[in-house]
């Protein structure tokens, strides 16, 4: 990475990063996994592994798996958010690896929210 030497360069990097994120949000589906200590303690790593496996099984390549920190609902960990390109972000709680094929199949593939596991929804960011 190139060192930033003034405010304008930071501003330019910010715009570039925003642009990249906006493009990603438009064109890519995302699965965001809560990987704070509580999340990991609740088994987030196993869930991530299952997500990657399931995506591979179905030859799905347009999904990005990213992590995030604590959102405050630690009791409902493992929390994963599913965002279909351009759509709202839906949070699922108390997810175990067994739920992953269903969440990916229903939500990512068919765009149908798995209602019984939903914790909440965030307006698209």
């Amino acid at each position: 990475m190139k060192k930033l030497t003034n405010k304008d360069e930071l501003q330019a990097l910010r715009q570039q990063a925003q642009q990249e994120i906006a493009e990603r949000n438009q064109n890519k589906n995302r699965i965001i996994v809560g990987m704070g200590t509580c999340g990991i303690a609740a088994g987030a790593q196993d869930v991530v592994n299952e997500i990657l496996k399931e995506l591979q099984r179905r030859h799905i390549t347009n999904v990005e798996v990213v992590r995030t920190g604590c959102i405050g609902m630690c009791e409902r960990e493992v929390l994963i958010d599913v965002v279909r390109a351009g759509e709202d972000r839906v949070t699922y709680g108390q997810v175990v690896p067994r739920d992953i094929p269903r969440i990916i199949g229903e939500h990512i593939v068919n765009g149908r929210i798995v209602e019984d596991m939903v914790v909440g929804r965030l307006t698209a960011v």
Binding site: M1, K3, L4, T5, N6, K7, E9, L10, Q11, L13, R14, A17, Q18, E20, I21, G34, G36, T37, C38, I40, E54, R58, V66, R67, T68, G69, C70, I71, G72, M73, C74, E75, E87, D88, V90, T91, I100, P101, R102, I104, G105, E106, V109, N110, G111, R112, I113, E115, D116, V118, V119, G120, R121, L122, T123, V125
Partner: protein
């Protein structure tokens, strides 16, 4: 190329094949041919949806309606009703195809409705390992703005106008502390981030470090600039390995980008930040002990003054701020003091993060505007106590805090009103208790903690907490006398005023506040030898009600000490001498014949 007005997806995965999807596929083809719509709707065979136990699955697009357990005889109904008439066959729905709008939005969830996120603004919203995402969300623009346009004194002033007070417990005005240090003359100054977080039950600092490490770093760089420091430490307890890892990564990224290190953003300002892992002693959160610990000494407090702002780390002027305090700083500089100060109460501005736990339905981390009432937090955010249980108290401020009774539910939460009610904000633990909690037991719990964590340097704390604990134990054992209450109170007040550091000075708070609000409960323990909550083991016993007992013998198997005897079909008896009060028989008895009294 042919255009279809719709698609019908029949799952052809392994699971569905075994439950007969091929026949179903054929039936659809046949039904569509009959209705002459085979050119309008395309049948597609798909791979597994991952829902095989509900298979065969059929999805109709463009509506995206999913049918499950579709049999051969359902095909014509779906074709006739849905594809021809446009009426979905609801009886085959998996769940009602609830539209996306019906999922509650975060803003509508109890846990989020009353929140106002400033410190936690990025937590859960970005990848903590990506500096680009932080920058995209406005990160480091406060720093850039400051370096470009503000003198150190102006930074201090901006913080002063924001009204920010330290989130680490005491609530001391941040700007006053900074100003003190910025005026100290020295060739070297330090900024320290206190991430010791020793309060049992609190984890907001950890979550911030893990979820938004750059905010904390940015806050430290800004603070360093304001006071004239060029070096800083993050004192993080070693039990927080993930927080340490994320901060380390964030430091590296910030350095690579020239946001940390030499000549930050070309401004000529330098800042070096290092991590110091703490061994995890509660007293090491105290400023002077923390400094000693970084210097490689034993983490023991020393008397103040001189305050660290004048004579701190390695004898140099030093500012210590809490993680949450620091996470607020970039927001204030970037958004302006007024934006921050528009939230909160007169003397407590902004928000506070609480770790809401105990006997509430929704627990978790919540960030709320100062001035919100205890009731709003417990009932509207926390969803109240569990079914059928009565609210009893809320404990704030961790081991240094106190308990508030039901009559204080409408107290606005800010530094001063909590203090005047006999407790403190502390670092933000909020433990809700219901009728099953014994307040003397609660006081005992916190005192056990502080006594264990006392460093032993001064007598009031070392000996005093021991004596306090002994008296509490005496009372919970049913051996207390009324005179003990006065003794407790007197000793508690003495320790408060004579202990050397904050640990000892606040250790008696749980006792004093429970004595203030729950004195009756102490008296019941002493006079009636009863624990109304049924917690203090010595003060209750089990009895089998011989009118209810049917003599089934189930309890005998549950009892680890053979305390129960009886003939089959005759009322059983419980030997109180042998009973260790494990409660096993209570849970086991199908007739609720075992009574606690």
């Amino acid at each position: 190329m042919t255009f279809y007005r719709g698609h019908l997806l029949v799952c052809g995965g392994e699971g569905c094949t075994s439950s007969g999807c091929n026949e179903v596929h054929g039936a659809f083809r046949e039904a569509m041919r009959k209705k002459k719509i085979e050119d309008e709707i395309k049948i597609v065979q798909t791979g597994c949806h991952g829902y095989c136990e509900k298979g065969p699955l059929v999805v109709v697009y463009p509506e995206g309606v999913m049918y499950n357990r579709v049999g051969v005889k359902d095909a014509s109904e779906i074709v006739n009703e849905h594809l021809v008439k446009g009426k979905p066959v609801t009886r085959l729905f998996l769940t009602d195809p609830i539209s996306v709008d019906q999922v509650p939005k975060y803003e509508e969830l109890d846990l989020f409705r009353k929140q106002h996120r400033i410190a936690l603004r990025n937590c859960g919203m970005m990848d903590p390992d990506s500096v680009n995402e932080y920058i995209a969300r406005g990160g480091y623009s406060g720093l850039a703005k400051m370096l470009d346009t503000m003198q150190p004194a102006e930074v201090v002033n901006e913080i002063k106008e924001s009204g920010l007070r330290g989130r680490g417990g005491g609530g001391f005005p941040t700007a006053t502390k900074w100003e003190f240090c910025s005026k100290a003359k020295s060739n070297k100054k330090y900024i320290i981030c206190n991430a010791d977080e020793g309060d049992p039950g609190a984890f907001m600092d950890r979550s911030l470090l893990e979820g938004d490490p750059h905010s904390v770093l940015e806050g430290m760089i800004i603070a360093g600039y304001a006071i004239g420091a060029d070096e800083g430490y993050l004192y993080i307890r070693a039990e927080y390995p993930l927080a340490i890892k994320r901060i380390r990564n964030a430091i590296n990224q910030a350095k690579e980008l020239g946001l940390l290190g030499e000549n930050i953003l070309g401004s000529g300002f330098n800042m070096e930040l290092k991590i110091k892992e703490g061994a995890g002693a509660f007293v090491c959160g105290e400023e002077t002990a923390l400094i000693a610990s970084i210097e490689g000494e034993r983490g023991v407090p020393r008397s103040r003054p001189p305050f660290p702002a004048i004579k701190g780390l390695f004898g140099k002027p030093t500012i210590i701020n809490n993680v949450e305090t620091l996470a607020n700083i970039p927001y204030i500089i970037d958004q302006g003091a007024q934006t921050f100060a528009s939230v909160g109460t007169d003397k407590s501005k902004g928000t506070k993060v609480f770790a809401l736990t105990g006997k509430v339905k929704n627990s978790g981390l919540v960030e709320v505007p100062m001035g919100i009432s205890v009731r709003e937090i417990v009932y509207e955010i926390g969803g109240g106590t569990f079914e059928g249980k009565k609210f009893k108290a809320v404990q704030t401020g961790g081991p240094s805090g106190g308990c508030l009774p039901e009559s204080k539910l409408d107290l606005p939460i800010d530094y001063d009103s909590l203090a005047s009610a006999g407790t403190i904000m502390g670092s933000g633990g909020l433990v809700v208790m219901d009728e099953d909690s014994c307040m003397i037991d609660v006081a005992k719990y916190f005192l056990t903690f502080t006594r264990k964590e006392s460093c032993g340097k001064c007598t009031p704390c070392r000996e005093g907490t021991m004596r306090l604990l002994e008296m509490l134990e005496k009372i919970t054992a049913g051996e207390g006398e009324m005179a003990d209450l006065d003794r407790l109170e007197r000793l508690a007040k003495t320790i408060k005023t004579s202990a050397l550091c904050g640990l000892g000075q606040t250790a008696p708070n749980p006792i004093l506040s429970t004595l203030q609000y729950f004195r009756k409960e102490y008296e019941t323990h002493i006079k009636d030898k009863k624990c109304p909550a049924g917690v203090c083991q010595a003060l209750f016993f089990y009895r089998i009600d011989d009118h209810i007992c049917v003599g089934c013998g189930v309890c005998i198997k549950a009892c680890p000490t053979d305390a129960i005897e009886g003939e089959r079909k005759q009322a059983h008896h419980l030997d109180m001498e042998k009973c260790i009060k494990c409660g096993g028989c209570v849970d086991a008895c199908p007739f609720h014949a075992v009574i606690k009294e």
